[in-house]
């Protein structure tokens, strides 16, 4: 119990405030604490530092399809910094990338990719994890 809540109960006991007023004040102190907890949780939640990409081969995979184990940890700061370099990609190269992605079924123009989109993607990654499970390997992409 916080100091404020004790004071409110003391004032109620002394008859300085009514029960309704005490309840209202108590609810306010509770809301204040909850808000602070929420903001702390949001702050810690919304700041993932690393993107992990883990590829684990399966033991039962055919030898010709067996790849190595890969574990890559990329700081999100590096992704953000790399995004600034995206403006340096020549239009011809960007067109080739867009065409290649279109062939794979992704209609996407990399010239319109903005840093805000990446921020949104990063915050969305904090709550989710991508798992791809095939016969040969397991791929995990997650933020930490």
């Amino acid at each position: 119990m916080s100091e404020n809540q004790k004071k409110i109960l003391q004032m109620l006991a002394e008859g300085k405030i009514s029960v309704d007023e005490a309840l209202r004040l108590l609810s306010l102190t509770g809301t204040d604490r909850d808000t602070r907890n929420d903001s702390n949780n949001t702050a810690s939640k919304s700041t993932p530092r690393y993107l992990h990409v883990v590829v684990e081969p399966k033991s039962g995979a055919a030898p010709e399809h067996r790849h190595g184990r890969v574990n890559v940890r990329v700081p999100f700061g590096l992704i953000r910094a790399g995004m600034k370099l995206a403006t340096l990609i020549p239009p011809e190269a960007a067109d080739k990338v867009n065409d290649a992605m279109k062939e794979k079924g992704m209609s996407f123009d990399m010239r319109h990719l903005k840093i805000e989109d990446i921020e949104e993607l990063i915050s969305a990654l904090h709550d989710s994890e991508v798992n791809v499970d095939t016969d040969d390997e397991t791929v995990r992409v997650y933020a930490e």
Partner: protein, 96 residues
């Protein structure tokens, strides 16, 4: 303020050879920076001349964006770790 990496670890474990090295970037970095600055000073007249002749092609825009972006990437490297392990060798490259 983000600092550039101060250590780089390179570890290669193969079937025949194996080595692991820690590169003290906090020593190599300033030396490389001095060399880079000296190189820039030497190349400055040529850069200015080429800038005059190729002003219309806007390549200098790339330099204006590229140099800060390069340093941004350099300062974001700490924490990067690549670990690849297969049947023949195990390679680790990490920045601290």
């Amino acid at each position: 303020m983000r600092l550039p990496p101060y250590l780089m670890q390179v570890k290669i474990h193969g079937q025949r050879h194996a080595f692991s090295i820690w590169l003290p970037l906090f020593i190599i970095g300033p030396i490389a920076l001095i060399f880079l600055l000296a190189l820039c000073l030497i190349a400055l007249p040529f850069l200015l001349l080429s800038l005059l002749f190729t002003w219309r092609w806007y390549w200098w825009r790339y330099a204006i964006i590229g140099v800060p972006a390069f340093f941004g990437i350099l300062h974001s490297l700490p924490g990067l770790k690549v670990d690849v392990d297969d049947e023949e060798q195990h390679i680790v490259v990490a920045f601290y």
